[in-house]
Amino acid sequence: MVGTRKCDSAVTAGRLSKAVEFLDAAEHLEDDMPNAAGDLFVDAGIAASDVICCVRLGVHSSSATHSEAVTLLETADKGSGKHLSTLLGLKNKAAYTHQALSTAERKKMNRAASHLVEAAKRAVASAGQRPDTAKERPTDR
């Protein structure tokens, strides 16, 4: 698949661990440092999306285009794409502009990131953590 990177269980476990860490840090900072928290909510959502795609499709997005990442996630987990879209839509405001995130935007980002992290954990629970085998496979002939 174009714009994707293959992943094994080491990648899945590492990305899940980071997703939880980013979310926890964001919630911890939310009241005092809302923009930093917003950026961390985005990081949490992206890491969680990678986990879902790795578990279900064996690849995660490596595309710089937001819409491709959202489409891939929607393929792996119907209904989750809109949460990633919410986060990516506010990423620039949180990280790269002079404007501050509003309370409503921050809450929206928290809900979206929390949904994705929970969905990632459930995906791992239902499919299992399989041993690492990152070797290349023969072609599909």
């Binding site: 293959k6 269980s9 911890h28 929970e118 791992v124 629970a125 239902s126 299992g128 085998t133 599909d140």
Partner: protein, 222 residues
Amino acid sequence: MQLNRPFATVTPTLDGDVLAVLASSEVTFTITQIQRILTTASGEGIRKVLTRLTAQGVVLHDQVGRTNTYRLNTEHLAAEPILALSRLTATFLDRLQAHLEGWGEAVKYAAVFGSAATGRMTLGSDIDLFLVRASDPEHAGGRGDPEAWEQQVTELVQSVTAWTGNDGRVLEYTEDELRAAVAAGEPLLSDVARQGLTVAGTRAWLNRQLRPIGKAAAARRA
């Protein structure tokens, strides 16, 4: 059962694992992709399974150039039960959630943790449940009675066993006990917050209770 291998409830063979992959998404898969997801199966084994399932009409086979692709035939009569089997973990968590909703505000937080949450279940694994009970009898409503709570917990454990065939194991705290455990630096609580699948309350609430653990850890690192 193993929540991480839902099809093993009806077939312990590779057929079930392959169906689980195909049912997880509506996209087409190549044998290599399925093998990468399953990791322990051989390409030849997967190919044989797909040939069998294609002959049954459950799987649709296509050839794009020299690449063979496969997907679940969602119009097949068997597709609905196959999809239902693939969703057993979600069904289990939804049932738990609905069951605990009936407890009202008596339960502040609940989560599945341990191997059932991390995808490492074996057939004999217990299903670990973490429960935090409201300390304030006002919030506990008419269910504040310790005996009634105990009865509810017993029924919950029985239900988990009936639904899955596995033993349910409950780790329960009142809010006061949780605060004491946090102060004592109980490491299991961090595991629950990190890995647990929330089925009542919110993870943000649990994290707020656990924050002193994080601060203590930071102080130790300093």
